[in-house]
Symmetry: C2
Subunit: 207 residues, 2 copies
């Protein structure tokens, strides 16, 4: 297996974290998203959507979308339940992650590091922060009474939500307001094989 990835991406980290938890071997190919390396003809043959992470299997078939890759790797492991309703609950968290969590927490972090802070973007950033706090509040509500997203054990829903939550303060969020989320982050970080997000290589505003 070859993983095409970029170390600052939480979507990429999800997959590397899960491969590490599963103790699976893979080759890592780093792709520089800021230099257009996801839009070369070679990369578009791997993912026509021009995004990392992408996974190439031993037989040459390729798969994109971080959560679909987690789904593929999880089947048959302890990280994906066998009960049909619990499976659907895992997917519910993961679709929510791509629709309401990543587009707010991850995008705020990206803008703070990579984008010129124009007045328009500053106005939108306030909206991203408000919606990102709604997302964190929904997680807090869950983790007040549950250790994991679904059932009594960690699943790929927890892996999917971990990466960008763990670095959301780089986007201006304050996890002090979410003590149950912080305890859940600690539980994920204590899993055997855990690897953290890489620290951001640049200071805010210099990217």
């Amino acid at each position: 297996m070859t993983l095409y990835d970029c170390l600052e991406s939480g979507n990429g980290h999800k997959v590397r974290l899960f491969l590490s938890l599963l103790n699976r071997d893979f080759d890592l190919v780093l792709v520089d998203i800021h230099k257009g390396e996801t839009h070369t003809p070679e990369f578009l043959a791997i993912n026509p959507n021009g995004k990392i992470p992408a996974l190439k299997l031993g037989d040459g078939r390729t798969l994109s979308e971080s959560n679909a890759i987690l789904f593929y790797l999880a089947e048959g492991t302890d990280y994906f339940p066998s009960d049909p309703f619990k499976r659907a609950q895992v997917m519910s968290w993961m679709f929510w992650e791509q629709y309401q969590h990543e587009p707010t927490l991850a995008v705020a972090r990206f803008w703070c590091h990579h984008m010129e802070m124009t007045p328009e973007r500053k106005a939108l950033l306030a909206e991203k922060r408000a919606k990102g706090n709604d997302a964190l509040a929904l997680m807090e509500k869950n983790f007040i009474h549950a250790d994991w997203c679904v059932g009594d054990d960690p699943t790929i829903a927890d892996i999917s939500l971990y990466s960008y939550t763990s670095v959301c303060e780089e986007g201006g969020f304050d996890l002090k307001a979410y003590p149950a989320v912080r305890r859940w982050l600690d539980r994920v970080a204590a899993l055997p094989g855990f690897i953290p997000m890489e620290p951001w290589p640049m200071e805010p505003g210099t990217g």
Copy 2:
């Protein structure tokens, strides 16, 4: 089963369309998203995220996120393959739908009908349209050489992508540029049990 839904929502339509294709009985409860009915204590007990569609099973358990509901209903039917790689490809399209297709095509349609067209929103609408056209172009690329999203038969990926694609012209997109997408829309509409999106109840700009 009880489906909590709103007829103008494509996320809701996906689920009603799939239940109709499967010929499954269900009770429909219409919720007015514009009157705050998704944020009452009663509705938040069904979906703490305050969104339709939500499915309540006979035993009272509830499930949210349109694509997770499709996933739940599809298991064991012809609309979800048994091959692990194909299953992951189905999920890849569905995560892409929630990340790049719905937030552009559906949001442009919503803004054109429901929101005052401020200068700020007008500027963002141009961006939504550009990214929405990127999404349609990616689908066109697939459907030029394939009848369905994955493999030789319709799957829940096709159901998930159908609803908002079928009404994207209400958001200012022009499907003339995407003939293979139009042929795919016709194929979905020819499936036994098909039901279309409801026509929008209001003229653009009057909502």
